[in-house]
Symmetry: C2
Subunit: 121 residues, 2 copies
Amino acid sequence: MTSAQTDRAAVPWAHTDEADCQHASRILEIVGQRWSPSILLALARGAQRFTEITTVVAGLSSRMLTLRLKQLESARLVERTVIPTTPVSVRYRLTPQGLDLITALQPIAGFVQRWEPRDRS
Amino acid sequence: MTSAQTDRAAVPWAHTDEADCQHASRILEIVGQRWSPSILLALARGAQRFTEITTVVAGLSSRMLTLRLKQLESARLVERTVIPTTPVSVRYRLTPQGLDLITALQPIAGFVQRWEPRDRS
DNA sequence: CTGGATCCCTATCGATACTG
DNA sequence: CAGTATCGATAGGGATCCAG
């Protein structure tokens, strides 16, 4: 129990190096942004239209949604499709990568449920 | 069911509700902060002293470390222990909750390795 | 060694108004 | 419907200096 009482071979994060951490940080900084989780959740649940997302996510302005969607799109988590009707409609969908991220985020939900004080009525 | 073509019973995030999302957002906003992942990683790998962390995490100033540690502490992810030597030394450790968070963050590392383009310029 | 206090610049956000 | 433009307030972050 001197410096590291943990077994490096047994714990998965032991061989997470700085480079991985940098990469993970970028993802976490995107996902950690305000509104990002809510937007991803909305998309995961089937929302596709711009206005639909602003409706589902309470308090989200169109301005912020635009900003977030651009980020998520350049992170290749969300795909934007323009359908040339009149007027044009735009559809947003999670990419396979985005879906994978949602899956990777699931343990966080579990963590929250384990530790967050549940108010039961 | 309305417009969701997904099977609610099959996909785990389907029954993630807004409340869970709010809770998860708070965690993600903390973890997504600049330096937070690096600090958590440093602690997970055995760093305990203040200066040790600033050394391990390149570019991290004492000011930012102070701020982040306070956040992590009030989120109950990190525990601060003062050892009354002369001069006093302070030890930071991950709480069980903090360790659990690290574990919950592991899939993110997996995600990154799956999708991040390996840089071979 | 472990921070706290300032300064100062920038990024971010919300509100509002406007457009094709 | 799906955004863009602008503004003002605030929060974040780096640099620097200081203190117990």
